[in-house]
């Protein structure tokens, strides 16, 4: 009997209509400076955070590695770019690549130690690794600027043509392009056999061992990839704001980015794209009056989400669409 496969084999028609359709939102966003000039710096921030959240999603949403220390890698990237620029290495793309490399190495070093553990121990180690990096940056004031942040960061024009000015157009397109490329990469990864095996590890790691999967190696690989991407986000942040400070390594940032991801929905490719803007908007509105209100709001939303809507915004959307479909058929 022939095998029945009702799912179409996809992924091999490069310019199909569906693919062009998914490019549409990107083109709309790219046209933003025409419609809403002046919002470029804010948009750039959003792009950087989305990239950061995507890197976290690989770990949390796909591989099942919960980390409260991802800002450590972000900060390593950010400080690498900053410190290099202060010492005369100012080409944006080159420093970004260096940042990714250094973040990847950091991820590899910590990962080798941490990923043998799981549960609470792993969580604690991820926090400890970020705290460790934070303290090092805090103490090494001569190199990092300590609490005041790194001063004198600047970069030469991108590709020799586009200067980073305070209007932020260069930074806008630069980070949008980086985000787009990252998105393509992450999407390909998720759909690959490697990506599927990550989900397997998350769902049942003992069974993965019993089908011959070297789970430690896989987790390490995805951790290094995720670290490199987080480092890229950090470098972009430094390059677009011409500044980097201890916040980039902080527990607060690690927590915030996790919340941003969960808000949108982890394990769903577009979760980061939804969660980040919503979070940043809410933060902007609530934190202005009183930081306490913002914490309260954040906390209540988190608790409500865990108890009522575990899939985040996209999860809720999915359920609504599913319910509508059922109604339609009935």
């Amino acid at each position: 009997m022939a095998a029945v496969s009702s799912q179409p084999i996809d992924g091999n028609a490069p310019l199909s209509f569906m693919r062009l359709l998914t490019l549409l939102p990107w083109m709309v966003v790219a046209a933003l400076p025409l419609a809403l000039p002046g919002y470029e710096p804010l948009a750039t921030q959003v792009f950087v955070m989305i990239l950061f959240a995507l890197s976290l999603d690989l770990l949390v949403g796909y591989a099942g590695i919960v980390t409260l220390g991802h800002a450590g890698l972000f900060g390593v990237g950010g400080y690498t770019a900053g410190i290099l620029s202060v010492h005369g290495v100012t080409d944006p793309i080159f420093t970004a690549v260096c940042a990714m490399l250094l973040a990847a190495i950091t991820g590899l070093t910590f990962g080798v130690a941490m990923l043998r553990t799981k549960g609470l121990t792993l969580l604690m180690l991820t926090m400890a690794s970020a705290f460790l990096l934070y303290e090092i940056a805090n103490k090494a004031t001569s190199v990092t600027g300590g609490e005041d942040g790194l001063q004198g960061v600047s970069f030469t024009p991108l590709l020799g043509l586009f200067a980073f000015d305070f209007r932020g157009k260069t930074a806008f397109f630069y980070s949008l392009t980086a985000l787009f490329l990252t998105f393509i990469f992450v999407r390909a990864l998720i759909k690959s056999p490697f990506g599927w095996s990550l989900r397997g590890i998350r769902e049942n790691d003992t069974r993965m061992v019993a089908i011959g999967c070297p789970i430690m190696r896989r987790r390490l690989i995805v951790y290094v990839i995720s670290s490199a991407l987080a480092g890229l986000a950090g470098a972009l942040q430094t390059q677009s704001t011409q500044f980097v400070a201890l916040y980039s390594l902080s527990f607060e940032l690690s927590g915030n980015i996790l919340i941003m991801l969960i808000l949108g929905g982890s394990g769903r490719l577009y979760g980061s794209f939804v969660g980040v803007p919503v979070f940043m908007f809410a933060q902007d509105q609530l934190a202005k009056q009183d930081p306490a209100n913002w914490f309260l709001g954040q906390g209540l939303i988190l608790i409500a989400m865990v108890m009522l809507a575990p899939g985040g915004i996209l999860g809720v959307a999915q359920r609504i669409i599913g319910a509508v479909k059922v109604r339609g058929r009935a």
Binding site: V60, V66, L68, A113, R116, T117, G119, L120, T121, L123, M124, L125, M127, A128, S129, F131, L132, E135, I136, K139, F251, E252, G255, L258, I259, I262, S266, P291, A292, N293, W294, F295, L296, Q298, G299, L300, I301, L302, I303, M305, V306, M307, P310
Partner: protein, 271 residues
Amino acid sequence: MILYLISVGLSVTMGLMGFVNLAHGVFAMLGGYVTVTLMNRFGVPFLVAVVTGCFLVAAIGFVLERMLYRHLYGRSELDQVLFSFGLILVSVAIVRIVWGPLAQPIRLPEYLKGQVEIFAVTMPAYRLALVGFGTAVIAGLWLIFDRTLFGARIRAAVDNRAMAQSIGINTNRLFAAAFGLGTGLAALGGGLGADILAIAPAYPLQYIVYFLIVVAVGGLGSIKGPFIAALAIGLSDTACRYFLPEVGSIFIFAFVFFVLIWRPNGIVERH
């Protein structure tokens, strides 16, 4: 030693319920706030204030367990982390609104100030008292867990919840009670330690990593483990401040990594 007092409660609740509770520091903080408020506003003596805080927070913990935590036992680790993190944020906000953003001042009672001489070594009386308390607590806990029916029930439920239920142990009430015990201990640590770990809204966020370290290094579910771990951390921290003041907490974190590479399940493995 304060680390031990606070963390042993976490070790018990985590070992018992398997619930990743990041919000444990919240209960220690609440204990501290109650202690300080009773002392500063109402002139209640130190020890009485601490003990009151302990029982009050234990009651709060008991209620929270029955109302909220209970529903989340089967959930994924991520959900538990998010929930307890949310709880931290909410409590930090409430505390900040009620008591303001600054650290609370605490006046230690006279008999705890000053130095004490033991075996020709001078130590601050306060620290000595803390060590004494820590030892008393571990002895008390050991008594409870090893000698009483309550302790035996907890140990049974930790080993195998389903079995325990089928022989008639009401695990729901047991868990609530144990949670109350754990949070009460945390409050005790928070109140007693108010001079060293300052009581401020950022308390749970600042110190959570240390509580987790003590529990993870010591071994989940054990009572002795965190004691050894807290002791080790305390000693190495002091030694570090003496010999390498530049290094500070970096050493502790690096130390933790090495210990956990050597023993991934903690120093004292329970299961």
